[in-house]
């Protein structure tokens, strides 16, 4: 589904990703963990080209993402993204946030788009907030709307960039629950997270990144209970 080959990314002289190769299969849930500055968010943002790639290649369903001939906007419609800071559009209601892209890009009618939005809002438990503005919602509610907004494009993959890191502790669960539900429904997901409990419970595979490399990738029970690499052990020793 997603294939990353020898990915390099530099910001100026700072090399953040130093040759990442990776594959995500359909319906797989992959959690990416690692210390701050290990390049895990950058890695995620490269997948839909929010960051320009310095070297290497990324394929989504066989289409090379970083090919100048590829229509990146088309690729992005297939790849949903959820951000740490939610990034809802503050000048639009929840409903407008969700219907904007399907109406403008998928060209579906307003009626159909609103119908779809209500369905998705019901799914994330926020149907009654459809006509509120983002600033009237709590952080957890905003993030759930952001997930609904991404799902409205019916993406094939969902990328989550530390979706619960900006939330108050009591709101983390409501967001993780929505994500868990998505995973159960068979959504292909790549999740950069610090929520080790979530990774252990939901991930099919856990990727540990450090210093711009993938250090270790394993099933969660192996990586959490019997990590092989010293750096993985050191990191997990600090966070668990």
């Amino acid at each position: 589904m997603i294939k990353v080959e020898n990915l390099y990314k530099s910001f100026g002289h700072l090399e953040v990703l130093k040759g990442i190769s990776y594959e995500v299969r359909e319906k797989e849930v992959v959690c990416v963990i690692g210390p701050s500055g290990s390049g895990k968010s950058t890695f995620l943002r490269c997948i839909n080209l929010l960051e320009e790639i310095t070297d290497g290649a990324i394929y989504i369903e066989g289409v090379k993402v970083n090919d100048p001939k590829t229509d990146i906007n088309l690729i992005r419609t297939e790849v949903g993204m959820v951000f740490q800071q939610f990034n809802l559009f503050p000048h639009m209601t929840v409903m407008e946030n969700i219907t904007m892209a399907p109406m403008n890009i998928r060209k579906i009618s307003k009626n159909d788009a609103e119908h779809l939005a209500l369905e998705l809002l019901a799914k994330v438990g926020l149907k009654e907030k459809a006509y509120n503005y983002p600033e009237q919602l709590s952080g957890g509610q905003q993030q759930r709307v952001a997930i609904a907004r991404a799902l409205a494009m019916k993406p094939k993959v969902m990328l989550f960039d530390e979706p619960t890191s900006a939330l108050d502790p009591e709101m983390v669960k409501e967001v993780l629950d929505v994500m868990k539900q998505l995973a159960l429904e068979g959504m292909t997901m790549v999740v950069v997270t610090h929520e080790m409990g979530f990774a252990r419970e939901v991930a099919d595979r856990v990727v540990f990144m450090d210093g711009g490399y993938i250090v270790e990738q394993e099933k969660p029970e192996i990586i959490f209970d019997a990590p092989k690499n010293e750096r993985t052990k050191a990191f997990l020793g600090k966070v668990l």
Binding site: L50, R76, M81, F89, P90, A130, Y131, Q136, L137, M153
Partner: protein
């Protein structure tokens, strides 16, 4: 001449000249402002562009027009630029409006650039990640938000332009100030005509301030919780 011995009848005799001046000032300012906004939006977008061949000309333009006095710009446009390009002059109206557009565009461009850049970059990323093109994201997401922040400084620019429009008297444009000068020259009295001119500008700027305050209030409310259709949290 005693300043308490003012002869307002002079002004009354020249009321048509002042009214014509008022009209000219309004036409100059409003056309200059509208043109300045349109050109300013293009330049402001140019200044936020990553493409060097768009960015540099925009930046150069803004620096040039902000870095030179408007009076000098008016003279160059009226006496040198327009005759050189078109082989003739089209009168003070064309030169005056051109100068006001070109000058205010530079200031508006800076306001628009700052407004766009004040929007969190996560907004653009969220829009692009949904598949919107850069220009769709600009139109639907960035500019509507930036516009609200631009209203107060763009309003100030309107007022500044109204006052600066008096500089066109230098090319004999018959605006408010010109009417005052004519009367002053004819009667060798200075208090009455210039006070009337000042008062007319004051009334105009006062009315503009009210208009801007109204627009500001109207738009700042648009994502106010109280205006949403259903209840609060």
């Amino acid at each position: 001449m005693d300043i308490f011995d003012l002869r307002w009848d002079i002004i009354w005799n020249y009321r048509e000249l002042f009214l014509r001046g008022l009209w000219i000032t309004l036409v100059l300012t409003i056309s200059g402002y509208i043109g300045g906004i349109i050109l300013g939006v293009l330049l402001g977008l140019g200044e936020t562009s990553k493409k060097k061949w768009i960015y540099w000309p925009s930046k150069l333009y803004v620096d040039l027009f902000r870095g030179t006095p408007m009076l000098v710009q008016i003279l160059i446009i009226h006496l040198a630029f327009i005759p050189a390009v078109f082989g003739q002059s089209f009168g003070f109206m064309v030169s005056g409006i051109t100068a006001l557009i070109l000058n205010s565009a530079a200031y508006n461009a800076e306001i628009i650039r700052a407004g766009i850049q004040s929007i969190d970059k996560g907004q653009m990323e969220a829009a692009r990640s949904l598949g919107l093109t850069h220009s769709q994201a600009m139109r639907k997401i960035i500019l509507p938000q930036a516009f609200r922040r631009m209203i107060p400084p763009l309003g100030n620019e309107f007022i500044a332009l109204l006052k600066d429009s008096s500089l066109v008297t230098v090319i004999a444009a018959s605006d408010i100030l010109y009417a005052a000068k004519v009367v002053a020259g004819a009667y060798q009295r200075f208090w009455e005509p210039y006070l009337v001119a000042a008062f007319m500008y004051l009334v105009l700027t006062y009315l503009l301030t009210k208009l801007i305050a109204y627009v500001e209030k109207r738009f700042s409310n648009s994502y106010n919780p109280r205006k949403s259709r259903k209840g609060r949290i």
